[in-house]
Symmetry: C2
């Protein structure tokens, strides 16, 4: 078997990319909020996109199943029936008011890789691969509904925690109840877990969700690692008082403490290299126009290339908040809701992704970019059971988690070719 794709008709990759883009549009119409894209875990929209994905998996010859955590899986067996599988994929869930490519484009590109690699060609180069191919459409990566990210891939990695069953959504529905409403049995969650010996590795294509490739003028990048992340919910407590009658020297205004906290996060992280902190949620209570806020809630999302520097920055922020709240007579506490160590991409998978991208570049071109992912991905969970590799696609202006999120059809076309070449390079290594 050749480690490279043969000459193919010139329109093969653009046609595949057009199909990916059309399906991104089709999936964007499956939303809980007309006019916006919102598709959360265990919703009716989740069930609808799983059915669509299963149909498309069968169309490229895969057998399909939905696992015990609602992940949609397609499998193309190897000629050797007990051969382990290379897992390709990404997620189909979204943030609120999302773009149409984050996660989704990776699932749809994976289907095109399967289509390409099993297509009959005149010179019969394709089969058999030394491993099975699986495409996984993960059910929850964003954590939009229950505040806990990576639920789908954690189930596959066997790192599901029973504590999560009592997480609730905005309507007070627990994760356990949502499982049942979706038709899943919480008692069978363990069946979603995969064993390391069943897997060759996990390869994912994803938009960069940052501006690096756009700034460089390049289409594709090798991912070196997925950032380390911690998330906190902060509560600041002061005293609610009448807005008119309470002079400033008697106020303990929780909202002003929260405002200073948000600005402190920005100031401290800006002074760092490769650390980024974001306050995405802030709310004041009781939340009346004429009451000094007695309580404020805010979220903190903290990411870094390395766990150590991320943790040191959190300590600095904590010390700063102690000072701010002390001056204002406020109390504060934080609850950690997410903690993910940095995941390094496996050297072999980095190498085959690099080889795949090189196949798309003119001879003598510069080395493809290697960047670390500041965003979290399903590979963070899957890294617990198998090697992880990732390919990034240029994301114009770095806009993601926003309706303006984009990727060009040309870059998707190059990405499909690069990823298919990567799989063949990996197959050659497995001979």
């Amino acid at each position: 078997m050749s480690p490279r794709l043969p000459e193919l008709p010139p329109d093969v990759f653009p046609a595949a990319a057009r199909r990916v883009m059309a399906r991104c549009d089709e999936l964007a119409r499956v939303t809980a909020t007309p006019g916006r894209i919102e598709r959360v875990y265990l919703s009716t929209e989740h069930a609808r996109v799983n059915r669509l994905a299963a149909e498309w998996m069968r169309e490229v010859g895969m057998t399909t199943s939905q696992d015990a955590a609602g992940n949609q899986i397609g499998r193309l067996a190897a000629s050797e029936p007990h051969a382990p599988a290379l897992m390709l994929g990404s997620h189909l869930d979204t943030v609120p008011d999302a773009g149409r490519f984050d996660g989704i484009v990776g699932v749809l590109m994976a289907l095109e890789i399967v289509r390409l690699l099993r297509a009959p060609h005149a010179d019969g180069w394709i089969s058999p691969l030394p491993f099975a191919l699986e495409v996984v459409a993960f059910s929850d990566e964003e954590g939009t509904r229950f505040g806990k990210a990576l639920l789908g891939s954690s189930a596959v990695a066997g790192t599901w925690s029973d504590e999560w069953w009592s997480l609730t959504d905005a309507d007070g529905t627990t994760l356990r109840e949502a499982f049942r409403e979706f038709g899943l049995d919480p008692g069978r969650i363990g069946e979603a877990a995969r064993r390391p010996d069943e897997l060759v590795g996990y390869l994912e294509a994803h938009i960069e969700q940052g501006p690096e490739l756009d700034r460089r003028g390049e289409s594709l990048a090798v991912v070196s690692s997925i950032a380390s992340a911690r998330r906190f919910q902060l509560v600041i407590e002061g005293e609610a008082r009448h807005a008119g009658g309470t002079p400033y020297d008697m106020r303990r205004d929780a909202l002003l403490g929260a405002s200073e906290a948000a600005l402190a996060v920005e100031r401290i992280c800006r002074g760092e290299h490769h650390i980024i902190g974001t306050v995405g949620q802030l709310e004041a209570f009781p939340g009346a126009v004429n009451i000094v806020p007695g309580e404020a809630h805010l979220s903190l999302d903290l990411r870094g290339e390395y766990d150590g520097s991320r943790d040191r920055v959190w300590d600095e922020i904590s010390a700063d908040l102690d000072g701010i709240m002390g001056v204002r007579g406020l109390r504060w506490h934080a609850r950690e809701v997410h903690n993910a160590a940095a995941v390094m991409c496996a050297p072999l998978l980095r190498d085959v992704v690099r080889e795949g991208i090189l196949e798309t570049l003119p001879r003598g071109a510069d080395e493809p970019a290697t960047i670390f992912s500041r965003a979290g991905h399903d590979g963070m969970a899957i890294g617990a059971i198998t090697d992880v590799g990732m390919l990034f696609l240029r994301n114009p202006d770095g806009i993601s988690h926003h309706p303006d999120e984009a990727v060009s059809i040309g870059d998707v076309s190059l990405g499909i070719r690069a990823l298919a070449e990567s799989v063949l390079h990996l197959a050659a290594e497995h001979r």
Copy 2:
């Protein structure tokens, strides 16, 4: 008729104060939120407290009616049937998670004044007053439900605006729909308006909602004026982006702009005399833990003793916000939702309130305190049609709009006596 109360049994005022306190407790149990006090305009709780107030009005001999804006009114005619009325009162609606005295204590004290002044005494001093007495329990002062304060008293003042009909509550119900659901006819709102020639003036007792009297160690104060107020809803627009992938130099974070705005309001107002600004509401959108906020909404409540300084400070805040938002690449705009000019208490009513308080003090005591009200009151609207006077009661630690809001039974007892004396002094002036 004597301008002063006769000698009365020593327990008359304490007994009246005990009744006021017990009724404050009774009204506190009429709430939309068990365990907290919340009673908003045109709610079932509003209807229930109106029924209670009407019962208590009839108990002291008044005829009762509910006007076209849901205000509950009691009237005790003068012997001269066409004599104008002295209006006493305050409001029965509350902020969310309110205390039990703001507004309420003024309505209940007014009922005790009526009881005192019409009580048969051995020396027959009481009747007839040269004016009718009315007690009004205003239906909406706080503006909790529709964001617009003073709806009840604006109807009485004849300053209702048809623009308000389309205001909506948190559930999307319009003010017009809420009127109908409550059993009121929006087309008859004009019938609530009173003519200046029907009224002698308006006298209100209210807790201070500030710490001045508590700091001085005094029970009662004459109010000189009610603060000038403006309220704005501010919208800050940036761009929602992925929290991990977007470097700081590409962010246009609306929440950080809003945080700087809230702190700028505090900094500018702290540098002023008698101006106070409060941001009571702040929310970030889309409000996800992993998205840089693209939009933030905040409220601003701005009060001052004089309209001119209040407006100058708003101009300063606006200029500051232009600077903050410019640096951050954000846009902002403000919608003014409330604008009330300062209302000066009428010299005659200030004088009778002062005389009333003096009656409660030992001979040779210092002059009673005169303070201006930073909080808004129904008198701000009623000032459009008649003279306004107010009496403040000490509010321990100045805590109001909070469950810990308090007033002592001793101060209520003194307040009832002072207000009754004030009415007799006013009657003497009207001879």
